[in-house]
């Protein structure tokens, strides 16, 4: 019997059409095509997105680099350079030989100026020297001939130089612009000729925490010039045409054009064989050393016996884009508690200039002393006093590059040292001053976290308006609470042109606060760091590399957190006429020695020097026998340099233009002439007797640029973006529209594309609606059924 089989409609087998191979082939092909299409679309979308976002901001790349001119009132000007690309006409290479004897370093810095052009040149080179350099000799060398420079009053030296230049004689002039910034000018360098200018100077060797150090800068960080350019001033107008610097004089920095040499990337300079320095150091300390190293250079050294070491740069020379620093540490057991060096200058001493200048010799006679004395060590553990620290961080454009990273890291490290009970604040400044908190706050976890977030976001841009920041830092600390130790930690590269005004500001608004400076970067302004800390009764450290941050900051913390040696008194034996500097002995921070430079007149050196002081509540006393020790030349120059510095400090407080200031100027002038020192009022000038430049040949003036310090960003005015990308945009638009239209066209074979579009939109809409609206035909829930029925 037949059973009814419930099944769908049966289809006779012969009617069934199975998919053929062709079907599968087509099907997969179209599928693959779809996938390719998807890929293409994605890629296109990415490209379009990128192009669109770029095309929409044509002006955004205009001046990424902050130009100095925009940063302040200083103005960016090239003097020569023809068509804009600046190729220095005169190449410069240096060679420094440092001889260290005891606590004194004598440096011969030879600058070789090579004229690479076919015309006669005058080279103008603004270069840095160590902050305490006493420059006492200038010499020109041409092959085998030597011309020794003479010290003259500044204006007179200029005049002599100008006349020699005009007459076609070879001449060199060495002027001081800042205690650590000098200008050397060499006139009438023949085409293809090389002229060597040797500058000799003396400087004291640094000593801190058992380690000696030397620093020789080779380039500088461009100084920010605050103030307003008075364009109407006639002298300014004249200087614009004659200036060798990029900056114009302002009301605050009248010599801005003299301290703003052009900068050029080191790679460009060294590519043409310029700006390399060879450095050799002879250490004659006489002490067996435990360690000797240079943090920023690779060095080789060998022991020559008798505690003498010869140090040189590995590979001979290095690019002049960072300070050279040498540190050496004697063995702990060999380190003396005191060191005394003496030098005698007799009445009939011949000056190093070797000429017939007689006046002033009488002023030089005497015995000169250099003294270093270590205070006693701290007795045991010391109670830490609560502190109120204001951190001031420089975020100006000159801090760009690696400097700002070093500064940020230093600050974060400093924040981590704060303990409950301390108070702190952070002031960031560039063109404007921004404190993180309106007033110093307690060092709670929350406040520190807030501060850390702000510090990590710091960026370097804008000018260096230091005065408002310093003022703000000093007025942060309200009078009243006497229990807190008040400190300002100032993290900067010191790249400012108005140092003197800032020193005066520090002196006047310091109160009982102490100012510590942290110098940042490959070429910080050490003069500013040292002097600001000295006036601020604090200490100064320098960080030149990101890897150094931790170690150097530790030494700063040691100074910040340990008690000082105070009430230092030096008593000289009776009968001696002593003129010692510094006049008022500063308090000593941990690791710092007592240092003095003195001139002693009267009878032979005799008796004992007595030093007394107070450390952590205890009185201490030291005695040192004064014996005419080893003869050390150059101590006289060092003493005179210290005296000039002291006189300049006094002059700054009374004002340079005042009657007292004029008198001090005369004192400085006499002193500098007597000791053959370059000073603000005296310069060295060397002139060859015979003219060399033919009358018909012209003389071109070419400033020698300084290399941009390592890790820093050259601040210059860059070209604006001068394309809209409109063509690319149009092309992309065309392509997209074409593609869209093409795809839309292809699909419906017979119907018009508009109807296809409408149908497809309708279908899509229905499909979508169906997912969200109840379908009366499929209503299952009671609510839905009710709703359907109600309709």
């Amino acid at each position: 019997m037949d059973r009814t089989i419930f099944s769908g409609q049966r289809i006779p087998r012969e009617l069934v059409v199975l998919p053929t191979e062709e079907y599968y082939r087509r099907r997969y092909r179209s599928d693959r095509r779809g996938r390719w299409l998807l890929l293409l679309v994605t890629a296109l979308a990415v490209v379009v997105g990128a192009a669109g976002s770029r095309a929409n901001v044509p002006g955004d790349t205009v001046t990424r680099e902050v130009s100095l001119a925009q940063a302040g009132s200083g103005d960016l000007l090239f003097r020569t350079g023809g068509q804009g690309s600046y190729q220095p006409a005169v190449h410069l290479n240096s060679r420094a030989v440092l001889r260290v004897r005891g606590l004194l370093a004598e440096v011969e810095l030879e600058q070789a100026f090579e004229n690479t052009t076919g015309s006669w040149q005058e080279a103008v080179y603004v270069f840095p020297l160590p902050a305490q350099a006493a420059v006492n000799r200038l010499e020109i060398r041409l092959g085998e001939r030597r011309i020794v420079g003479k010290i003259r009053e500044r204006q007179q030296a200029r005049r002599i130089y100008r006349e020699a230049r005009a007459a076609g004689k070879r001449a060199a002039l060495l002027e001081q612009q800042r205690p650590n910034l000098f200008t050397s000018q060499v006139a009438n360098i023949a085409p293809g000729e090389k002229v060597h200018v040797t500058v000799r100077f003396l400087m004291p060797v640094g000593f801190d925490s058992g380690s000696f150090s030397l620093r020789l800068p080779t380039t500088l960080t461009p100084r920010y010039i605050p103030g307003r350019v008075d364009a109407a001033d006639e002298t300014v107008q004249a200087l614009r045409l004659d200036g060798n610097g990029w900056a114009l004089p302002t009301d605050q920095v009248p010599d801005a054009h003299k301290i703003s040499p052009f900068m050029q990337p080191a790679a460009e300079l060294t590519a043409s064989g310029s700006h390399r320095i060879a450095i050799e150091v002879d250490l004659e300390g006489g002490l067996p050393l435990a360690d000797i190293h240079s943090p920023y250079h690779d060095i080789d050294f060998k022991q020559a016996g008798g505690g003498t070491y010869a140090v040189s740069l590995r590979g001979g020379d290095a690019v002049m884009d960072r300070d050279f620093v040498l540190r050496w540490r004697p063995r702990q057991s060999a380190l003396p508690q005191a060191a005394l060096f003496t030098g005698v200058v007799a009445d009939d001493a011949v000056t190093s200039g070797g000429d017939s200048r007689d006046e002033g010799h009488a002023g030089r006679a005497g015995t000169y002393l250099q003294l270093l004395l270590l205070p006693p060590d701290l007795p045991g553990k010391i109670r830490r006093l609560p502190r109120e620290v204001i951190y001031v961080i420089d975020t100006s454009g000159s801090m760009g590059g690696s400097s700002i990273r070093q500064a940020r890291d230093s600050l974060l490290l400093a924040l981590s040292r704060l303990q409950p009970g301390d108070r702190f604040n952070i002031i960031e400044f560039n063109s404007v001053t921004r404190p993180v908190f309106p007033r110093p706050v307690d060092a709670t976890t929350e406040n520190l976290r807030l501060a850390r977030v702000q510090v990590e976001a710091l960026q370097a841009r804008g000018g260096t308006e230091m005065a408002p920041a310093l003022r703000k830092a000093f007025e942060q600390q309200l009078p009243g609470d006497e229990t807190l130790v008040r400190q300002v930690v100032f993290i900067t590269d010191g790249a400012v042109g108005n140092e003197a005004a800032l020193f005066e500001l520090v002196r006047q608004s310091l109160g009982d606060t102490r100012l510590f400076t942290v110098g940042i970067g490959s070429a910080p302004n050490r003069h500013f760091m040292r002097k600001a800390a000295q006036i601020g009764r604090g200490a100064s450290i320098t960080i030149g590399d990101i890897g150094e941050v931790s170690a150097r900051m530790q030494s700063l913390f040691a100074k910040l957190e340990h008690p000082l040696v105070t009430d230092l008194q030096v008593t000289w034996p009776k009968g001696l006429h002593v003129d010692a500097y510094p006049k008022k002995i500063p308090d000593l921070y941990r690791g710092e020695p007592l240092r003095l430079v003195a001139r002693v007149r009267g009878p032979e050196l005799h008796g004992k020097l007595m030093v007394s002081g107070r450390l952590a509540g205890r009185q201490f006393r030291r005695e040192l026998a004064l014996t005419p020790g080893r003869e050390e030349g150059g101590l006289g120059s060092l003493w005179a340099r210290s005296r000039i510095e002291a006189l300049r400090d006094r002059q700054r407080t009374v004002g340079e233009g005042s009657a007292a200031g004029e008198k001090l100027r005369d004192n400085i002038l006499q002193l500098a002439l007597a000791f053959q020192l370059v000073s603000p009022y005296t310069s060295f000038v060397a002139v060859e007797q015979a003219p060399v430049r033919p009358k018909v040949a012209g003389l071109a003036n070419s400033p020698v640029p300084n290399a941009v310090a390592r890790g820093q960003v050259l601040q210059r005015q860059s070209y604006p973006a001068t394309a809209t990308g409109i063509h690319a945009q149009l092309l992309v638009a065309l392509g997209l529209l074409g593609l869209g239209a093409g795809l839309g066209w292809e699909r419906p074979p017979r119907r018009s594309s508009w109807r296809a579009l409408r149908a497809s939109v309708g279908r899509r809409l229905r499909h979508w609606l169906r997912r969200w609206l109840p379908d009366p035909r499929r209503a299952r829930l009671t609510l839905e059924q009710q709703l359907v029925r109600a309709r």
């Binding site: 770029r54 095309a55 804009g84 690309s85 809209t724 990308g725 409109i726 945009q729 497809s760």
Partner: protein, 193 residues
């Protein structure tokens, strides 16, 4: 369905790009009517006049590159200024300044397209806001790499025209610049056209 979405997205993106380009072109060309008015007004009054109240730039000079309509030079070389016309670069000299040269930059694909046709010896004229014309003679032109060189702002009279290079490059933001140097010839008659 996918295809439909594709078509729509292509069309939309295309329209967006087209609109952007058109907007740039419109800014470059249409704004000139307003800027022209401002310039005329400025010549009469001698005071800087903003072409529209919210403009962040204003015309500071008129530049005639030989043939064609003179171009109005805007103050500053920011993107906003360059969208409307050639820009007088900050810190460079005013037209006719003796103590520093005048540097003018413009987009290669809008206003300074004609720069490639300038030949050495050709005379370029510049009018300052007092209506005085100054004449410069093209001395040379060259291509520089903006990553390596600074703007040639120098202490001396002269005119420098800057635009992007190559002229027909598709994308914006390349590092090369086309720089035309012109030497100062002197001041022309006051109302020379």
């Amino acid at each position: 369905m996918l295809r439909f979405l594709l078509v729509m997205s292509f069309l939309l993106a295309g329209a967006w790009q087209l609109g952007g380009a058109a907007w740039l072109l419109a800014k470059a060309h249409l704004a000139h009517y307003l800027i022209d008015d401002a310039w005329e007004q400025q010549l009469r009054s001698g005071e800087p006049v903003r072409p529209w109240p919210w403009a962040d730039t204003w015309p500071v000079a008129r530049l005639s590159l030989g043939g064609g309509r003179p171009l109005l030079v805007m103050s500053g070389s920011s993107g906003q200024a360059l969208a409307f016309g050639p820009g007088l670069v900050e810190n460079s000299g005013a037209p006719g300044a003796r103590d520093r040269n005048t540097v003018i930059a413009a987009h290669r694909d809008t206003h300074f397209n004609g720069l490639r046709d300038l030949r050495a010896g050709q005379v370029v004229r510049l009018q300052d806001i007092r209506g005085r014309w100054y004449r410069y003679r093209v001395s040379s032109s060259r291509v520089v790499d903006s990553r390596r060189e600074q703007m040639p702002i120098q202490a001396g009279p002269g005119l420098v025209l800057v635009t992007c290079y190559p002229f027909d490059a598709l994308s914006a933001g390349g590092p090369l610049r086309f720089v035309v140097h012109a030497e100062y010839l002197g001041a022309g008659r006051s109302q020379e056209a």
